[in-house]
C-alpha cells in the first residue's frame, strides 16, 4: 500500500469517529444551552475531570474497568445474536456473590481469597445469565425482556442482602462490611487508584479477540450470530448449544465486572452499587462494533465521559446524568450511519 493510500484509508477510518465525536459534543452543547448552563465552563470541567491531571486520568481508567468488562460481556452476547441487556443484573449478582464469599473467607490469606471471590462473581453472573438462557432455550422467551426483568430482581436482591444477611455488623447502614485489606485488589501503579482489574480487562479483551478471530469455536459463535439458519443447515453447528455457551460466558464476564469493582474500588456492597454500568456497557459494545479490542477503546471513552461528568456536576452544576444523553446520541448516530450505508449499498447493488 502506498503512503498516500495509507493516509487515505486512515482518514476514511477516522472520519466516522470524528463525525460521531463532533455530533456527541454538539448534542451535549445543545442540551447545556437548553438547560441554561454555559457550555464553555461545563465542557472545560468535563475535560479537566477526564484527563486534566494524573488523578483525573486514573479516575478515567478506574471508571472504564467495569465498563470494559461488562462491555465485553455485551459484545460477546451480541456477536452470538443474543440481546443480553442483563449485564447490570449479572454484575450485581457477581458483586453479591463476591461479598458473601469474602465474608466466609475473612481469615483466609488474600492470595487465595481474592481469586476465589473473583471466580465466585463470574460463576454467579453466569448462573444469573443461565436463567435467561434457559428460558430462551426451553420456552422461547425473548432474552431482551427476561434479562431486564432479572436486572430488577437482582437490584431487589442486593437491596435485601445489604439490609439482611450481608449487612455490616453494627446494622446501621444498608451496606456490607468493608473488605479487609487482604481482600482488596492490589494497586498496579503506585499513588494511583488503578488496580489489577485494569490488567484483567485488557487481558480478557485480547483473549476474546483472539478466540473470536482464530478458533473454530469462536467462528461458530460468530456464524450463529450472523445467520443462525445458515449456521445450522450449511455449517452443521449446534445453534442452541453455541448460544447457551455464549450466554454463560457473557454472564461470567459481567459477574466478574461486579466482583472486580467490589474488590478493586468500592470495597463494600451497597444498594446503588452500580450506577448503571451494565446499561452503559451496551453503548460501549455497540460503539465498539462488538469488537473486543474496540471495547477497550470505547470503555476508556465512556470512562472519561463519566469521570468528566462527575467533575462537571461538581464544578459547573451540570447533572452528571447528562452523559446518558450523549451515550444515546452516539448509539443513534451509529445506527443511522449503518442504515444509510446499507441503503447506499442496496442502491448500488440494484443499479449495477
Amino acid at each position: 500500500m502506498s503512503m498516500h493510500a495509507k493516509v487515505k484509508s486512515a482518514v476514511t477510518a477516522l472520519l466516522p469517529v470524528l463525525v460521531f465525536a463532533g455530533g456527541a459534543v454538539l448534542v451535549l452543547v445543545m442540551l447545556l444551552l437548553l438547560t441554561g448552563h454555559s457550555p464553555g465552563p461545563a465542557l472545560a470541567a468535563l475535560a479537566r475531570g477526564a484527563a486534566g491531571s494524573g488523578y483525573a486520568l486514573s479516575s478515567t481508567i478506574v471508571r472504564s474497568v467495569p465498563l470494559a468488562l461488562s462491555g465485553l460481556a455485551v459484545a460477546l452476547a451480541f456477536r452470538a445474536g443474543l440481546l443480553n441487556i442483563g449485564a447490570e443484573g449479572q454484575l450485581l449478582v457477581g458483586a453479591c456473590a463476591a461479598t458473601a464469599v469474602g465474608v466466609a473467607l475473612r481469615a483466609t490469606p488474600g492470595v487465595i481469597a481474592i481469586p476465589v471471590m473473583l471466580a465466585a462473581g463470574a460463576i454467579a453472573g453466569a448462573g444469573w445469565a443461565w436463567i435467561a438462557a434457559a428460558l430462551r432455550k426451553r420456552y422461547g422467551v425473548l432474552e431482551v425482556i427476561s434479562t431486564i426483568m432479572l436486572n430488577f430482581v437482582a437490584i431487589n436482591i442486593t437491596g435485601w442482602l445489604v439490609r439482611g444477611p450481608l449487612q455490616e455488623p453494627t446494622r446501621i447502614n444498608p451496606q456490607s462490611a468493608s473488605l479487609p485489606l487482604s481482600q482488596q485488589l492490589p494497586i498496579v501503579i503506585p499513588t494511583t487508584r488503578i488496580h489489577v482489574g485494569a490488567v484483567v480487562a485488557v487481558a480478557l479483551a485480547l483473549g476474546l479477540w483472539w478466540w473470536l478471530r482464530a478458533t473454530a469455536s469462536g467462528f461458530r459463535l460468530r456464524a450463529v450470530g450472523a445467520n443462525p439458519l445458515a449456521a445450522a443447515s450449511a455449517g452443521k453447528i449446534d445453534v442452541s448449544r453455541t448460544a447457551m455457551v455464549a450466554f454463560l460466558i457473557s454472564g461470567a464476564l459481567a459477574g466478574l465486572a461486579g466482583s472486580v469493582e467490589l474488590t478493586g474500588v468500592t470495597y463494600a456492597l451497597y444498594e446503588n452499587f452500580s450506577p448503571g454500568y451494565g446499561y452503559t456497557a451496551i453503548a460501549v459494545a455497540l460503539l465498539a462494533r462488538l469488537n473486543p479490542l474496540g471495547v477497550l477503546a470505547t470503555a476508556l471513552l465512556f470512562g472519561a465521559l463519566e469521570a468528566g461528568a462527575g467533575a462537571m456536576q461538581r464544578d459547573a452544576a451540570v447533572p452528571s446524568v447528562v452523559v446518558s444523553v450523549v451515550e444515546a446520541a452516539l448509539i443513534l448516530m451509529l445506527v443511522a450511519a449503518d442504515r444509510w450505508q446499507s441503503r447506499a449499498g442496496q442502491r448500488l447493488a440494484t443499479s449495477s
Binding site: I157, W160, V321, V325, E327, L332, W340
Partner: protein
C-alpha cells in the same frame, strides 16, 4: 362517617383490591399502546423512556396549569420520545431493540437533566397537584369490587372506555384491519393499498401517547412527585403484559390487573405487618411473575407474524 372510615381502613382485602387497580392503571395504559404498536409489527422497547418522559411532562404541565394540562403534556412528551423511536425504526428501519435501548437511555438522561435544571438537584419543595379519587354513585357501593373499581381517579375510568374502544376498533374497523394486516403480512397489506410505514408510525406514536399518560398517571394519581427513573421497568412489564394478554386489548387489560395485584402485594404486606418475607423480595415479585408468565405463555400464543421485522418493501 367515622365508622365507615374505620371499616374501609380495616378491610385489608378491599385495600388490596383498590391498590391493585391503582397499580394496574398506568400499566394498562402503557400496555394497550404497546398492544397496538405490536399488532402493527413494531416491538417498542423504548416504552420505558416514553413513560419517564410522560412522568416529567405530567409534573411540569400540572405545575403550570393543573392536572388536566399535566396529562396533556405527559402524553405529548411520550409522543416526542416515540417520534425519535419511529424516526429510526419506521423510517430508517433500524433494529427495533437497539433503537429502543438507545431511546430509553436518551429519555433517562433527558428527564434527569431537565428535572434537575428545572427543580434543583434534590427536587426539594416540589409539590405537584394530584387528582383525587372520584367515587361513582351507585357502582362504588357494590360489595368488594365497588370501591376498588369505581372509587378511583378519573384516569382509571378513561381506561374503561379506551380498552373496549380499541378492541372494537381493531376488530371491526377498516383501519383496524389495516393495522393487523401490517403486523401479519406487510406484503399483503401493500397489495391491499395500505401504506405500512404510515400505519406503523401512527401505531408507534399512539403507543407513545399512551405511555406518556401512564407516566403522568404515576405522578398525578400516585406519587405526587417526579423521581428520576421512576418508571422502574414498567415499560418492560407492559411488554410482558401484552404477551400475557395475547395481543388482544381485553386480554391485555386483564393481564394488567394481574400485574397490578402483584404490585399491590407490597401494600398488603405492609398493612398486615407481615415481616416473614423481606420487603425487597416482595418488590421483586412483579418481575419474577413476568418471567413465569412469559415462560408459561410460550408456544400457545401467536405473536404478530411480522413483529420486529425490519425490511418492508414499498
Amino acid at each position: 362517617m367515622l365508622s365507615l372510615e374505620l371499616a374501609a381502613g380495616g378491610d385489608a382485602t378491599g385495600e388490596f383490591l383498590a391498590a391493585t387497580v391503582r397499580f394496574a392503571t398506568p400499566l394498562a395504559f402503557a400496555a394497550i399502546g404497546e398492544c397496538v404498536s405490536e399488532r402493527a409489527g413494531v416491538i417498542n422497547i423504548g416504552l420505558e423512556g416514553a413513560i419517564l418522559a410522560g412522568a416529567l411532562g405530567g409534573t411540569v404541565g400540572a405545575g403550570i396549569a393543573g392536572p388536566a394540562a399535566g396529562f396533556a403534556v405527559g402524553a405529548a412528551a411520550g409522543v416526542l420520545v416515540a417520534c425519535v423511536f419511529a424516526l429510526f425504526t419506521v423510517w430508517l428501519r433500524a433494529d427495533q431493540i437497539i433503537t429502543g435501548t438507545a431511546t430509553n437511555l436518551l429519555a433517562l438522561g433527558m428527564t434527569g437533566t431537565l428535572f434537575r435544571s428545572l427543580f434543583g438537584a434534590a427536587g426539594v419543595g416540589l409539590s405537584t397537584p394530584t387528582i383525587a379519587a372520584v367515587a361513582i354513585p351507585g357502582l362504588s357501593a357494590l360489595p368488594l369490587v365497588g370501591q376498588a373499581f369505581f372509587a378511583q381517579p378519573v384516569v382509571t375510568y378513561a381506561l374503561y372506555v379506551l380498552v373496549p374502544a380499541v378492541a372494537w376498533w381493531m376488530a371491526r374497523t377498516h383501519s383496524g384491519l389495516a393495522l393487523r394486516a401490517v403486523g401479519e403480512s406487510p406484503e399483503a397489506a401493500i397489495a391491499a393499498g395500505v401504506r405500512p410505514r404510515m400505519v406503523q408510525a401512527c401505531a408507534v406514536l399512539f403507543a407513545g401517547a399512551m405511555a406518556g399518560i401512564a407516566g403522568a398517571t404515576l405522578v398525578l394519581a400516585q406519587a405526587g412527585t417526579f423521581v428520576e427513573g421512576m418508571s422502574a421497568g414498567r415499560g418492560f412489564i407492559a411488554i410482558a403484559i401484552v404477551v400475557l394478554g395475547r395481543w388482544r386489548p381485553l386480554g391485555v387489560a386483564a393481564a394488567a390487573v394481574l400485574f397490578g395485584a402483584a404490585n399491590a402485594l407490597q401494600t398488603l404486606v405492609q398493612s398486615m405487618g407481615w415481616t416473614a418475607v423481606p420487603y425487597q423480595l416482595i418488590l421483586a415479585i412483579p418481575y419474577v411473575l413476568t418471567l413465569l408468565v412469559l415462560a408459561g405463555a410460550s408456544g400457545r400464543v401467536a405473536a404478530p407474524a411480522a413483529l420486529g421485522r425490519r425490511e418492508v418493501e414499498q
